[in-house]
Structure formats: structure tokens, C-alpha cells
Amino acid sequence: MNRLSKVLILLPLLVLLFSPLNAALTIEITEGTEGALPIAVVPFDTSKLTFELSADIAQIVANDLNRSGVLTVLSRQSLPATPYYSQQVKYPLWRSAQQDYLVVGRVLEKSEGQYEIQFQLLDVLKKKQLIGYSLQTDKRKLRASAHEISDLIYQEITGIRGAFNTRIAYIRAQRNKGRKYILQVADTDGFNTQTVLESDEPLMSPSWSPDGESLAYVSFENRRPEIFIQHLSTAKRNKISGFKGINSAPSWSPDGKFLALVLSKDGGPDIYLMNIETKRLTRLTRHRGIDTEPVWSGNGQSIIFTSDRGGSPQIYEVAATGGKPRRITFEGRYNTAASVSPDGKFIALVYGEAGQYKIAQLERETGNLTLLTDSNLDESPSFSPNGKMVLYASTRGNNSVLYAVSVDGRGKHKLSDQTGDIREPVWGPYKLKQ
């Protein structure tokens, strides 16, 4: 094939380099958070800045903490005072406002576009500072710095690492003016949306590399399902699997070296492992039924997948070295789309019964299945990297929208959006420390 025809073939497909856009998903808290700890986040002092900041740091932090389900943030109108430093805080005032925690802070300008954000988390009952940090940032990283502050606060209060400063990927489908499929990534609050790929043909099944630098996904750009890997910051992409039949459901191994995937080249859809560097394939399952949706256990020792070999789709587990698969779901006739919690103790899945599809959580040790949602067309659950939230897609009215629910079922929020269907969300890994 000559160079020109390659270019022509790629035309209906638009690969995009990362450039921040202002388009954003908006967040809406849909369920109250009973039992959540009260915290007040005072707007940070920005009075010493020459220009107004493009982001309201305290508001971003407040929204993050509210979404966790663990904390409930006092509304701005209800703040009894607006201190910027711990020394200015009159604790009885916050105690009578029934707050357990208080966050104060300020933004200082170091040079043009370079900032220092200082904040303190205060314990209202003990009348003392719990943590105080100073973060260096610039005007393009303000939102990321705010999420970092949320992570520090969350970790101090709960003892669990925060996952606010991470990213999500999902597919957006547009129906107006012909179908369009868009692979996007965004911050966990739905802002900072960036388009990775646009196509007239379906895009499916994004999977993050463990370093968060690349996505594997399924594209129908050649009018059949094939698997591609795309590096996010360079936009360099490679077709990694284009065998006859199905090439689908890629899932990156925790060590980043393998891709679990589904191929039907040797018969029915079966699970294979591909060494990404050598492209060498190992067939893991061999059954005439449907085997699909492989995901790795947290330690990479086994693969969890969906199979209808027992008559209805259920979740199975097979060692990454091969062997006999073992069924692990027994409740209900329809269990699919597993996502494994980072500690391997829980599996989030789609539980179908009487024509309704909800997100449920299976506890591995006890085999207990708990429903996390109560709607009827939910799909694609994905654990946050700290295992405390599950992101999923839910069909409401004519569109599919993204929700996140805390694993204790206490907090649920929607990432709503103006255009198109949003589906197949996957929560990315922690960002690597710079």
C-alpha cells in the first residue's frame, strides 16, 4: 500500500494530541451521604494575585470531598466566617456550625503564571492543625493541584489514599449529524476533557496501561473489531490485534507487559494473552461457548472473565498460566463485566435479573453479592485505584451517563453531559510521582 492511500484510509479517523479543552462534564450529587463527616472548606485567599485565577481551588476541593461519600461539605452560604490562616480561626464558631474539620488556604504568585498554594486542614474538636502543605503549581495545573489537595485531606481523615487526582477514560457516542464515536479522557470530576480519538465507526472497551500513559481500545475503523494501543501524549498508535473474527476486550496486565484479549480466530470467542513486545499469543481458554471480558486480578496471577459455558453468563477465574477455569458467581442468571478491586478482595459486576441490569459487588472471601445500584440499565463498572468508588454507565432517558458510587453505597454522583451517550468508563491508575 502506498503512503497516499494510507493517508486516505485514515481520514475518517481523527487522532488527537492532548490539548486541554474547556468542555466539561458536570457533576451532580444524586444521593445524600448519611453518616458522612462534616467538613468546611473556606474559599482560599487570592487577594494578593495580579490576575484572577481560572479555577476556584476551594470549590474543586469541596466538590471532590463531597463526592467521596465519606465527607459532607458545608455550603458556602452557610460558612460562619472566612479565615485564610489557622491563626484567624475561631474554633467555637465552627463547632457551633457542627463541623468536625475545616480547610483554609491561600494562593500566592511566585512569578507570572507560577503559583504557590498553601493550605491547612484543622481539627475543630481538638482545635489543632492536622496537616499543612505548600504546593508549587502553574496556571495550567491548577485543577490537578486542587485534586492533589483533596487527596491529601482525604488520606489524613480516612487513612486511605485519595484518588481524586487521577483520570477516567470513556467512549462518547454522538447521534446527531451521523454517528460519531469519541474516545475521551477527563479528570475524575469530569473537567479537563481531552479527546484521544474520533471515528465514524464504533470505538469500544478502553483499557488503561498501568503507567497511565497509554490506552488500549477496540476500533471498527476497518469495518471490523480490531485492537489498538495509543500513547496519549504523543498520539502514536499501533494496531496490535487484527486477526480474523473478533478482536476485543483488551485488558492490560498490572506489570504492563501483557494484554489479555478476546479472539475468535480459532473458533468461538476465547481468552488469550499477548506479550505486547513480542506479540506472542498464549491461549488461556478453549471452549465453544462465549468467553469474554478478561480482567487481571490485582496481583496479576489470574484472569477473571465472563463465560456462558454453564448455560448463562457468569464470572470465572483462570490462572494466568492456564488451567481449568473456576466459576466464582452463583447468585442470579446473569453476571458479567467484572472489575477487580486493587486489593483483589472485591469484584464489581453487572448483575442482571428480570430484564434489569444493576451494578453489584461480590466479596471474594464470603461470596456475598451486594447491589450497589437500583436502576435498570447499568453497565461497565470500574473501580477507582483506591478501591473506594465504582464508576459505571447508566442509561437514563435517551442517553447513557456516567455515575460513581462509593463501595459502601453511601455516596452516588452523576457525571452528566450535554451531548451524546457516554459509556464504558474506566478509571485510570494513580499518577506516577514526578
Partner: protein
């Protein structure tokens, strides 16, 4: 083949008086301007000129499609007549969509007779190939639906092979739930979306 396809359509359109302005040359060029219909007058109809060749071959094609047997002339007119058969909305192979029950890849008895006609047609026309595009409704997980819709396409393929189609004439692809015919979330829409589409190509 493609040009005859256009020409035969053009001929039909000319006969029914829809596309008068487009019929002024025999080259098969269609001027898409239906707004001129109102202004058609007799002088335009007098200038009406379609090349005899294209009329003849189009008529042959139409004739072939009604009696269902392809007359082997030269290669080109053969594929032209096959194309006409494929394009004929009242032929035995005009039903191109096979529907399925929920979570099933079993072909219904009604669909069997449709597929029998397709199988026979494909078997007797070696220059025809068919893409079997499997689809599912939106319920359940997307990847499971890819596998399910593939299974539907495979069911259809097996029947066509049984009826005599050769494996190199058939290609299957699964779209899962990604390309619904109807996008509303009702039982009726779902039943229309669980399908295999037969997409013909004449080589």
C-alpha cells in the same frame, strides 16, 4: 456493474417521470434536482435520449431478476444481471435482515426459508459475496454482546454454507450493540436490534 445499476435505476426513474432532467444523456450521469419536475414541458421530453445499449442491458437484467436465473453472456453482463437481482426489491433475496430472540443465536423457522433463498442464490452466483453483520440489543454488557452477535452471524453463515454457499463468499463481523437500528429503550426496539444483516457485494 455499478454504472448499470445506476442506469437501470435511472431508466425506472425516467419511465415514472421522476428524473426527467437526468435522462438527457446515456452516460449514466444523474443530476440530482427533483425540483425541476414541475417545470418539465413537452420540449424537454422530446429531447429525452437514453442510449439503446443501456436500456437493453437494464431490461435484460430486470428480466433475469424476475425469472431468477442468470443467463451467462459475457462476464460483465453477468455481474450486471446479478447486481440487478440483488437490487430488485421484490426478489426472493430482498429480505436481508434476520431477527433473533433475546440472548439467542437460534434462527427461527420463518428466517430459515429466507436464508434458503439466499443460500441458493449465493451458491449459483460465484461472483457474489456477502458480509454477515451481527447485532444485539443494548441489554447486558457490551463485550458479551459482541460475542453474542458474532454467534448470530455464525448461525446464519452455517445455514448459508449448508445451502451451498462457499466459505470464501461469506464474511462475518460482529458489531454487538454498537449500531442499533432503533435507539429507544423498549421491547419493540430491542427486537428490531437483535439481527444479522446480509450485505451483498457483486464482484
Amino acid at each position: 456493474m455499478k454504472s448499470l445499476n445506476l442506469k437501470s435505476k435511472l431508466l425506472i426513474l425516467c419511465i415514472t417521470g421522476v428524473f426527467i432532467t437526468g435522462c438527457q444523456s446515456g452516460s449514466g450521469e444523474i443530476i440530482e434536482d427533483s425540483t425541476t419536475i414541475d417545470s418539465v414541458d413537452q420540449s424537454q421530453l422530446d429531447g429525452f435520449d437514453v442510449s439503446i445499449d443501456s436500456v437493453d442491458s437494464a431490461l435484460t437484467a430486470l428480466e433475469n431478476s424476475t425469472n431468477g436465473s442468470a443467463i451467462a453472456l459475457d462476464d460483465q453482463s453477468m455481474s450486471e444481471s446479478v447486481q440487478a437481482m440483488v437490487d430488485n426489491p421484490s426478489s426472493a433475496i430482498s429480505s436481508r435482515v434476520i431477527y433473533f430472540q433475546f440472548d439467542s443465536a437460534k434462527v427461527s423457522e420463518d428466517s430459515l426459508s429466507i436464508l434458503e433463498a439466499h443460500g441458493n442464490f449465493i451458491a449459483s452466483n460465484g461472483n457474489v459475496s456477502v458480509r454477515l453483520e451481527g447485532h444485539s440489543d443494548e441489554r447486558g454488557s457490551r463485550e458479551y454482546n459482541i460475542a453474542l452477535a458474532d454467534r448470530r452471524a455464525q448461525s446464519v453463515r452455517r445455514i448459508l454454507l449448508f445451502e451451498g454457499a462457499s466459505s470464501n463468499q461469506l464474511e462475518t463481523v460482529s458489531y454487538g450493540e454498537e449500531q442499533p437500528t432503533v435507539s429507544s429503550h423498549t421491547e419493540d426496539s430491542w427486537s428490531l436490534n437483535r439481527r444479522v444483516e446480509l450485505v451483498y457485494q457483486v464482484n
